[in-house]
Assembly symmetry: C2
């Protein structure tokens, strides 16, 4: 585990205004409420939740979610799974294809380790070659613990996965016939649907997803093979998968922090009222007649899903954030009463996309009592930051 | 210094095809040639070069540039300066405003440390308040070593800096009258001009920069204060600043690695033929009828200046990289002879923008002998990765 730098550790117990900038700050009260909302939602819909830890990359936060009822976590990378397992997480699904033999040996080793600790590992496949290689790695490793294998179907994302329907059947059968591989069901995630602006657009997209997944399940079960689980979904569409009767597990991850991009979209009435809990604290370092400049650029927050918004301003005093490059943000007055902020002023940004934003930081600063008067409660390690392989 | 993971260290001496993916790889031969080209260029134009280390963030690479004749390095952040100083770099200019008092105390401490080692620290200012606070921090620290202070003028970037001309004069005089602050000249960087597509556009933009900087210098010198240096420039425009007779120092940093965005622009005839030296190695993990999917998404490389290009393909066999999210890239056949790559195929990407790409990685893998047959020579620490404050 990476050591927490002394300068950062020394902020614990201090007021938020003493946090050096730029810094990635978690509003722990808002985060806890979001976790509780998700737990209540899943219980009400009798669906499991397995949040995607590619978002927070933190063993501490994964375990917090499990205490609230989460089944375990999802990750995208073997190295993420290893980092979280090292931090005590025991139930992990890699929702991605693993093809390189050295990586598959790491998967086999981790599967045995987690099983020995009473946990499990899962992984996705979308090609017969991937199944053959995984079985070979599991055989070489010699463990009888086995591994859960999900067949990934492409339900609209246009990325990995086989087309829904017939193409999934031989893969499911191949998994079921491989020693040490357990056919665990279907991975069916439509990432693009999460970010559709209109509520109707998202509902229609997921209706298609549900039809495709159900049809694929029927074809596999017609071959005498049970499909134990259909898993997928995200924060933007979870009300639809939860109500579908087809999805048994929700992989939504962003709900815990939320990001500016989700806030820009029309909200589902049935969706829990998730709050923003992730902020970049920044300081104004230069003032001009036309704009001010703050010390948070796109090395502090990801801009792949749009620029951040400026939070916590009184009504009419909005500021617009403009791209100032890697290390700077440009601030423009954007409300009827708005004035440019003064030199040295502290501001709070809501990142456009939380997953790649968290990945820029080694630590999150957890604040209790709000961003105005609150106090730093603890420093949270981003254990799997940069865990790419 | 962060320890090099054993799995990474064990690749030293191995062939490139054994590098796990995705990975950030430096072609050391190309990098060495780029450094030599820059050294030759600066010598020919009798101009100093102080490469911007916000690009590579590595003390090892900064010292390599200094061995080739570089004056020292630039950085944007106090934490970057601290990380590079800890790695042995002694001549550092922070080309940015520092406003927070705790940071200014760190600046004062670092200035004393570097001076004690025979080095120096410089910093930019664009406001009288910044000068007052810096002088206060230097006074409290009690060191007589002093610090170089550049007055930043905005020569077209539209970010920090005072407008060129009269506004710079009182700042230069205020610096010169402050104990322990040495007026070191003008910081004049036009970042936007670096990325203008047309050669004529860049030439005209820098002609304006040069006029503005010369005029500002004249006004300050009319007050009896010598302007020892005008510093700025970048890889896209350095031929113009070098030929201007006004710029005494070039801050270009990207030349060492180059990025896809610079390659898309019309090349200056007089510009040294810098080569791409930074690559993301990636593997195909899924194949479809329409596209293939590789394991490098925008957690492996920054996309703020466009998507990466696929390198090292034979003529007619081009592949186009499409955005597949945080962890995936989509690959499309894009040449008359192009076929989709097969499952497991290794590919090499040229990132759109090297600075924020390097900042995603803790280590660079240095390869000697080319990317096809080469061997891993050494692992290079990205000392200032995530050094934001």
């Amino acid at each position: 585990m990476k050591p927490i730098p002394e300068a950062l550790q020394s902020t614990v117990g201090q007021r938020v205004d003493l946090i050096d900038t730029p810094a990635l700050v978690v509003d722990l009260d808002a985060m806890d409420r979001n976790i509780q909302r998700m737990a209540d939602f899943a219980r009400k819909h009798q669906v499991r939740w397995r949040p995607h830890a590619k978002m927070h990359k933190s063993a501490e936060l994964a375990l917090l979610q499990q205490q609230a009822g989460a089944q375990g976590v999802c990750v995208q990378k073997v190295a993420e799974a290893e980092a979280l397992a090292a931090g005590g997480v025991r139930d992990i699904t890699i929702t991605n294809q693993v093809i390189a033999m050295p990586k598959l040996h790491r998967v086999a080793r981790l599967a045995a380790q987690l099983a020995a600790r009473g946990g499990r590992l899962g992984v996705a496949v979308d090609h017969s070659e991937g199944i053959t290689r995984l079985a070979e790695a599991m055989a070489q490793h010699g463990s009888d613990a086995g591994i859960d294998v999900l067949v990934e179907i492409d339900v609209g994302q246009g990325r990995c996965g086989v087309p829904p329907g017939e193409a999934a059947v031989p893969l499911a059968l191949a998994v079921s016939r491989s020693p040490r591989l357990r056919f665990a069901g279907l991975q069916a995630y439509h990432g693009r649907a999460q970010h559709l602006g209109s509520s109707v657009g998202r509902r229609e997209a997921i209706a298609q997803v549900v039809r495709a997944a159900r049809h694929t399940r029927q074809l596999i079960e017609a071959e005498g093979l049970t499909v134990p689980l259909i898993t997928g979904s995200g924060t933007g569409t979870l009300v639809h998968e939860a109500a579908s009767g087809v999805f048994g597990e929700l992989q939504a991850g962003s709900f815990m922090f939320m990001d500016a991009d989700y806030a820009r979209n029309e909200r589902e009435p049935a969706q829990p009222a998730f709050e923003h809990a992730l902020f970049v604290k920044t300081q104004v370092v230069s003032v001009r007649d036309t704009h001010a400049v703050c010390d948070a650029g796109h090395k502090s927050h990801a801009i792949d899903s749009g620029l951040p918004t400026v939070a916590l301003l009184p009504p009419g005093h909005a500021l617009r954030y403009g791209n100032g490059g890697d290390e700077h943000g440009l601030l423009y007055a954007d409300g009827p009463e708005a004035r440019l902020p003064t030199l040295g002023r502290m501001l709070w940004l809501i990142p456009g996309h939380c997953d790649p934003t968290v990945n820029l930081h080694d630590f999150l600063i957890g604040v209790r009592g709000g961003l105005v008067q609150g106090v730093v409660e603890r420093i949270i390690r981003v254990d799997a930051r940069g865990a790419l392989t």
